[in-house]
């Protein structure tokens, strides 16, 4: 794993200065806490607490069904690796409104910090590139984050941003963990 100097707790506010313009879905554990902290667990965010590996697919479903809304998937390296095939599905569908952010800390933070594949030899940006994502970017330092924020709105989509972060704790945020309640909250906010 190359040197990184990004504290994950400072990542998302730099990438999403105006989060309310997005529809968001997060993977579980740290990615969910960071995204809930970013948005104050808002009704335009669906956070997961299980079904590990589903975040990209949920985001793709949202992006295909709401093609005029910018959709962001915020997930972690472990969650993404559990369903790498979903990147090939994204590439085949070419959603012009989908951005994927992978917060890569090289470990399974929620279960005790056990090392993951990206701490060894795996490069998820290269995998996203090979899957066929249109725009791929890697950041490891805070001074790259302004450009990364522009990438998430301006680069040809679908986009994949790999953010290599320090192996520190995520934001301390207690979000709503009831998946049915979160579904209704999200839909009610869309008038459904």
């Amino acid at each position: 794993m190359p040197d990184t100097t990004i504290d994950r707790r400072e990542l998302l506010p730099r990438l999403f200065p105006d989060p309310g313009r997005w529809l968001m879905v997060s993977g579980l554990a740290g990615a969910a806490r960071d995204t809930a902290a970013l948005t104050s667990d808002a009704d335009y965010l669906y956070t997961m607490g299980g079904a590990m590996g589903a975040a990209v697919s949920i985001g793709l479903g949202m992006a295909l069904a709401a093609p005029n809304a910018p959709v962001a998937v915020i997930t972690g390296d472990g969650e993404l690796i559990m369903n790498l095939g979903s990147l090939t599905t994204v590439a085949s569908m070419m959603p012009g409104n989908l951005s994927i952010v992978c917060i890569d800390n090289g470990q399974h933070g929620e279960t005790g910090g056990q090392p993951g594949h990206t701490a060894r030899r795996t490069d998820l940006a290269a995998i996203a590139q090979g899957a066929g994502l249109v725009s791929v970017m890697t950041v490891s330092h805070p001074e790259q984050l302004a450009e990364a924020a522009r990438f998430l709105t301006g680069a040809p989509a679908p986009r994949f941003l790999l953010a290599r972060v320090l192996p520190g704790p995520p934001c301390d945020w207690k979000r709503d963990l009831d998946p049915a309640n979160c579904r209704l909250r999200f839909r009610n906010a869309r008038g459904l």
Partner: protein, 173 residues
């Protein structure tokens, strides 16, 4: 070889799904769903999503539901096992997921590899809170589809329409 359903069954199934507002057809290719997917590809108001693995389709249909659209997940029976953990979205999240399962390891199967998962389809779906609607004959198809659509998109249930090998015709391999 059992007697196969007439070749037009997939047209009436497709028409019922479209009439119910289904616009996304997520699928892993199977001989049993190929004609249905061809219709969805050709139709102006429906879109198909080729999946790498079946569980992705549970997530895609859930994402579509969050923004008010309706999808179905089409797969061979072997894919049901891949979906089990993602079906937490049904049992815990109460997402109205609609699955169309074309059976192997069922009536007349000749491939021994197909039996373990084929015979586990209904126990797995039952364990994860998905209601099953089995089609054994052509006469079953329209009412079973109507019942499954009502349970899912009106009743808010996860459902699986199970097209048996007795209905589809067992494959000669």
């Amino acid at each position: 070889m059992t007697q196969p359903a007439s070749l037009a069954w997939f047209r009436s199934l497709f028409a019922q799904l479209v009439e119910s507002g289904v616009t996304l057809f997520a699928y892993v290719p199977d001989a049993g769903n190929a004609a249905l997917i061809d219709l969805a590809d050709a139709h102006n108001e429906t879109r198909t999503v080729l999946l790498a693995a079946e569980e992705e389709g549970v997530g895609i249909c859930a994402g579509a539901d969050l923004v008010g659209a309706r999808g179905v997940l089409c797969m061979q029976s072997s894919g049901v096992g891949n979906c089990a953990n993602f079906l937490s979205l049904v049992k815990g999240g109460r997402f109205p997921i609609f699955m169309i399962v074309t059976m192997r390891g069922d009536y007349g199967e000749m491939n021994p590899w197909q039996y373990p998962m084929g015979q586990a389809v209904e126990p797995v779906l039952d364990a994860m809170g998905v209601l099953t609607f089995r089609v054994e004959t052509e006469d079953d198809l329209q009412p079973a589809t109507a019942a499954a659509l009502s349970a899912c998109f009106k009743g808010g249930q996860g459902v699986a329409l199970i097209l048996s090998q007795r209905f589809l015709g067992a494959k000669p391999f």
